[in-house]
């Protein structure tokens, strides 16, 4: 893999949006400045900063410019070679390349009172190598200086010509000897504002949300703030509002509100709107918070992530001027809600959905009217109760009706919610207990992610439980055709993504882990997680400590191929109970060591409790299977005696059954028994009929759980329980 950016922020997941039309990905995360990535993996800022130095003008001798007239010049940077698919709205010299806004205006320059002239325009080159061209613009001729200045201030400058941007030379010149141009300079090529999340729906990119940055700090009377913990900040926060917890005076509002100016990864200066340094009354330690516009929707120009503005023409053109009266502005719209948390386009519908929290709200906008004045009027409140907490938890799902919808996680309502464009409502009501045992840590909530896997037809959501040892530890899924919900321990799966393989045409689910694995999930015919092809995967312990064990026997672990270190291992007592999980940090031929542990008892995340012993069992990279069903034979108040249990199963190699009294579950299993294989396939693992006798006990309800701990394509067709009522 090629490293295209280093030292990036790790506070949030990146948000990406790709436009096939212009071939560019926009990258946003709320910390670093918004960027653009092309198919070569080259990263650019999302926009070209306007030149900051005004051009200077001197006479170049006799020419065509009329005597005594005043002219003002500006110039613009353009990138003609790097973005061939970007179509700016105005062609300049035949080019639709992305460009900056104009430079500051030159001082008005008057032509000689006696001889028509020409002017040499000196402009400052950009230090950026990908800026290849500088476009020169000029006002019409005016009889007075103030008229020329006013025209330039209004943006009434016309294209004259272009010169190459020569990096390293400082300046370059252009000789103006033209009567005048006809192409007006654009005024709305603003660089991308700061936002957290981005999406694309042709022809626009949309930006939304800004999370709060909050961290421990020390500050000096000079207005210098220094982070004191492990946090770092980035210059994407520049210009946002900053507050310090115990500063309630001074600043730009007299109550302790400042602008943030990034200095280094751990230091910043508090400034006012002009960028001038502000001071603080005392030096101390506290908490600094930085906040950008949290519920403002931004929009790019058409198929152009290098420009984020729009121009309103509020006056008609005249016979002497084709400029009208242009009002440029950043394309931004305050939507409402507290803090923007998620943005997405409803699948198969031209609807943009925005979610916010504090307070909750969910709105849609009609994208068919994007770019028109009517777009704002299409705003529709979908819900002010249910909204998506985590942007990455949103994905295009298939519901039980076979419709494409958006699903996401709403932690404040303990729900997985579904939006069809008209409503946004919970769909996870069948699994209320699990959803009330999820993490209360906001940072972990934001790591929730989801995907629809077309191979298994599962709608998947990876979450963290309240007691998780790792950032993500549980997969909640729903089988789309049946609406059947299930869960599985799925440690460390930090991200998921649908990737279409151009070679076989299929869409695959790819996963990345906290331990640094990248791979495919839900692989046809594979029934383990991450394992290499050879080596010992499961067995019995010869000895163990609180964070390691030595295998029994002589078969060795695979210490050559990747897949063991970073993988997770289940350990149980000899009866298959007291399940604990650990992440493998190192391995030798006979010993496994763990760094993170999900223990059966206790609160430690580094040691097993209880400590494993000789004879305990281990399973590396295993997918634990359990099916628990309570049986009361529709007579819940009647005593009954369970006689037999019949299983119809396939690939029956390490299957056992647990019995629970009444409606108890783990850890109250009263016994674990191994079913006996019967005909017709008693000699193989394809035991289509398996019977076990349940020891006599009198119950009104019995819980029976089928457990399979193998690496096989285990299947269960049915489970039949035979009981005698009131024996």
């Amino acid at each position: 893999m090629d490293n295209i950016l280093t030292g990036t922020q790790s506070r949030y997941r990146d948000s990406y949006a790709f436009s096939p039309e212009c071939g560019l990905v926009v990258r946003a995360n709320g910390e670093e400045k918004v960027q653009v990535i092309n198919s070569s993996g080259t990263v650019y800022p999302a926009g070209i900063k306007a030149p900051t130095v005004a051009p200077t003008i001197v006479s170049a001798g006799t020419g065509v410019l009329p005597i005594s007239q005043y002219f003002v010049y500006v110039y613009v940077y353009a990138a003609k070679a790097q973005f061939p698919l970007v179509n700016a709205s105005v062609a300049v010299n035949g080019s639709l390349a992305p460009r900056s806004n104009q430079s500051p205006s030159s001082t008005p320059f008057q032509i000689s009172a006696t001889i028509p002239g020409q002017n040499t325009v000196t402009v400052t080159c950009s230090p950026l190598t990908w800026i290849d061209t500088i476009w020169i613009f000029r006002t019409n001729a005016f009889a007075t200086s103030i008229e020329a200045t006013t025209a330039a201030s209004a943006g009434d400058c016309y294209f004259l010509g272009e010169v190459p941007n020569i990096v390293g030379t400082g300046t370059t010149t252009y000789v103006d000897n033209l009567a005048g141009g006809t192409t007006l300079v654009e005024l709305d090529n603003y660089v991308a504002p700061q936002f957290q999340y981005v999406t694309y729906y042709d022809p626009y990119y949309y930006g939304w949300g800004n999370n709060t940055f909050s961290a421990e700090c020390s500050y000096a009377t000079t207005g210098i703030v220094t982070l004191t913990g492990s946090d770092t900040w980035f210059d994407g926060r520049n210009g946002q509002f900053a507050t310090i917890a115990n500063i309630t005076s001074g600043g730009i509002d007299g109550q302790g509100l400042f602008y943030f100016k990034w200095l280094t990864s751990t230091t910043a200066q508090l400034v006012d709107a002009s960028g001038a340094n502000l001071t603080l009354p005392v030096a101390a330690t506290s908490t600094v918070s930085i906040q950008g516009p949290a519920a403002t929707l931004y929009r790019s120009k058409i198929q152009n992530p290098m420009g984020w503005g729009d121009t309103e023409n509020i006056a008609p053109t005249t016979s002497t001027s084709n400029d009208g009266l242009r009002i440029p502005s950043l394309t931004a719209m305050r939507v409402g809600g507290g803090y923007g948390t998620a943005i997405a386009v409803i699948p198969d519908q031209a609807l943009l959905k925005l979610d916010a929290e504090f307070p909750a709200s969910c709105y849609t906008f009609n994208l068919q009217l994007a770019g028109t004045a009517n777009f704002v009027g299409t705003k529709k409140l979908v819900s002010n109760v249910f909204s998506v907490t985590s942007n990455d938890s949103q994905y295009s799902a298939v519901n039980t009706n076979g419709r494409m919808v958006l699903r996401g996680m709403d932690y404040k309502n303990y729900s997985i919610i579904e939006c069809d464009g008209l409503t946004q409502l919970p769909v996870s009501t069948p699994i209320p207990l699990i959803l009330r045992r999820l993490t209360k840590n906001r940072g972990r909530q934001l790591l929730t992610h989801g995907v629809y896997d077309p191979f298994t037809e599962l709608n998947c959501m990876w979450v963290s439980t309240y007691d998780s040892a790792s950032l993500i530890n549980l997969l909640i899924y729903e089988h789309a055709p049946t609406g059947f919900w299930g869960i599985v321990e799925d440690y460390d799966v930090l991200c998921s993504s649908s990737i279409q393989d151009p070679y076989d045409g299929t869409t695959k689910t790819f996963l990345g882990t906290q331990s640094g694995f990248i791979g495919q999930g839900f692989v046809d015919g594979l029934f383990n997680n991450w394992l290499p092809l050879t080596g010992l995967m499961n067995g019995t312990m010869a000895s163990a400590t609180s964070n390691s064990f030595v295998r029994a026997g002589s078969t060795n672990f695979n210490i050559v191929d990747p897949g063991i270190v970073g993988n997770w291992c289940m350990i149980t007592d000899p009866n298959g109970l007291h399940e604990q999980w650990g992440r493998i940090v190192s391995v030798t031929v006979d010993t496994i060591y763990f760094d993170i542990v999900k223990s059966y008892m206790g609160t430690s995340y580094t040691v097993f409790d209880p400590v494993p012993q000789d004879g305990w069992l281990f399973y590396i990279g295993m997918i634990d299977v359990r099916l628990l069903k309570y049986f009361d034979f529709n007579t819940p108040s009647t005593d009954k005696k369970i006689e037999e249990v019949w299983l119809t199963s396939k690939n029956h190699t390490n299957t056992s059954m647990r019995l629970y009294r009444e409606r108890q579950g783990l850890p109250y299993a009263t016994m674990q028994v191994t079913p006996n294989q019967l005909t017709p396939d008693a000699s193989t693992s394809d035991a289509m009929f398996t019977r076990t006798k349940i020891p006599a006990t009198l119950l009104k309800t019995v819980g029976l759980e089928v457990v399979d701990r193998s690496y096989s394509d285990w299947q269960l067709a049915n489970m039949t329980v035979k009981a005698t009522l009131e024996p």
Binding site: Y503, F510, Q520
Partner: protein
């Protein structure tokens, strides 16, 4: 035979039709739809869900994977990496 005596001799059967894709039991189990782990459905049966195949070890935590065209971006804890679909999907 009295009714109670009749019932005492009755042996009855209840079937968990977990394998039938269209008749999954909708009853709540202790407030939970199901306590099923690690299975989904295939060919009308409850089956172990498929697993994960390792393609690459990058070491740092992987926060984001994103495809555009034939390119795949991988956000790790402190870096942004680029690879191709062919490199990780084949």
């Amino acid at each position: 035979m009295a009714q109670s005596e009749y019932q005492s001799q009755l042996t009855t059967v209840e079937v968990y039709r977990g394998m039938n894709e269209r008749t999954i039991p909708a009853n709540l189990e202790n407030g939970e739809y199901t306590r099923t782990k690690g299975v989904s459905f295939r060919e009308g049966r409850a089956s172990r869900i498929p697993g994960k195949k390792l393609k690459e070890v990058v070491g740092d935590p992987v926060l984001r994977i994103y495809q555009f065209g034939n390119i795949v971006l991988v956000q790790t804890r402190y870096n942004l990496l680029k690879t191709t679909v062919a490199a990780i999907a084949e």
